[in-house]
């Protein structure tokens, strides 16, 4: 890791966005208010969309904003408001053994970081990151409707079943 190419604009942007994402993610799992947790999750998901843009994946970034920030967050807020009478801080959001999650998560993070740093070290993502071109949607669609058509069909079935299942489960009868 050389100091001169550490401060290119992409790395600075990456640092700021990932800091925001990590703060948001920690708040999602620690805050005492379900609605606030959902709003912190919006920051994490938007930050992820920005990271996808840094990785030159424009179409995935736009889909992320449309599907996650648009649809999934509305679902979460609906779920919160339909299942709870009051909107406000709650003291019993955690299990009584919640502290056991901390060593598990830290151990996992330690092992994964060791493996990642050991395996990839200071390898460049791409030789000259100024050369990264956005991936055209046409290429992605050729990929989806070419070699990955069968997973796409399976995915359509999963979505159909999920829609039917959600209606059947949540219907008042």
């Amino acid at each position: 890791m050389i100091a001169t190419d550490l401060l290119v604009a992409q790395n600075v942007g990456f640092g700021i966005i990932s800091l925001l994402m990590i703060i948001g993610a920690v708040r999602v799992v620690t805050v005492n208010n379900v609605v606030h947790a959902a709003l912190w999750l919006v920051i994490v998901l938007s930050g992820a969309a920005a990271q996808y843009l840094l990785l030159s994946a424009e179409f995935v970034a736009i889909t992320q904003v449309l599907v996650y920030v648009g649809a999934v967050m509305v679902l979460f807020l609906f779920g919160t408001m339909l299942t709870r009478a009051r909107i406000g801080a709650e003291s019993d959001l955690n299990n009584k053994n919640w502290f056991l999650g901390i060593p598990v998560a830290l151990l996992m993070l330690g092992v994964m970081s060791y493996v990642i740093v050991d395996g990839f070290g200071s390898e460049r993502l791409i030789e000259n990151s100024g050369d990264m071109q956005p991936i055209p949607v046409q290429v992605i669609s050729d990929d989806i409707f070419g070699p990955y058509l069968l997973p796409f069909w399976a995915l359509s079935f999963v979505l159909l079943v999920a829609v039917i299942g959600a209606i059947v489960l949540a219907r008042k009868d």
């Binding site: 990590i22 999602v28 799992v29 959902a38 679902l75 979460f76 919640w98 460049r124 489960l169």
Partner: protein, 99 residues
């Protein structure tokens, strides 16, 4: 940009999500933590997509997003059903199948 930085960001988000799944009692909060985990996987997929100069990672990231949307829909319908029957969504209280 280094490969490691994106993979480490994914690892950090994944571990925060795992902590959330383990520590939270509220079912909606557990679903939110699962969303964190799925997003960290997407960051990894796209990083490897750039690293291998291939478009497959983008395709699979889109599939993961679609699966996550379906999962949240069904999950919240189940949470709603549990709330309607039990007046609570605390996962500790759902212990009928405990041996």
């Amino acid at each position: 940009m280094l490969t490691t930085q994106f993979l480490l960001l994914g690892a950090v988000l994944f571990c925060i999500g795992v902590y959330g799944v383990l520590a939270r009692k509220n079912a909606v909060m557990v679903l939110m933590s699962i969303e964190l985990i799925l997003n960290s996987v997407n960051i990894n997929l796209l990083a490897f997509s750039v690293r291998h100069d291939s478009v497959d990672g983008n395709t699979f990231a889109l599939y993961v997003i679609a699966i996550a949307a379906a999962e949240v829909g069904v999950g919240l319908a189940m949470v709603l059903l549990i709330y309607r029957n039990r007046r609570t969504i605390a996962l500790d209280d759902l212990s009928e199948m405990k041996g």
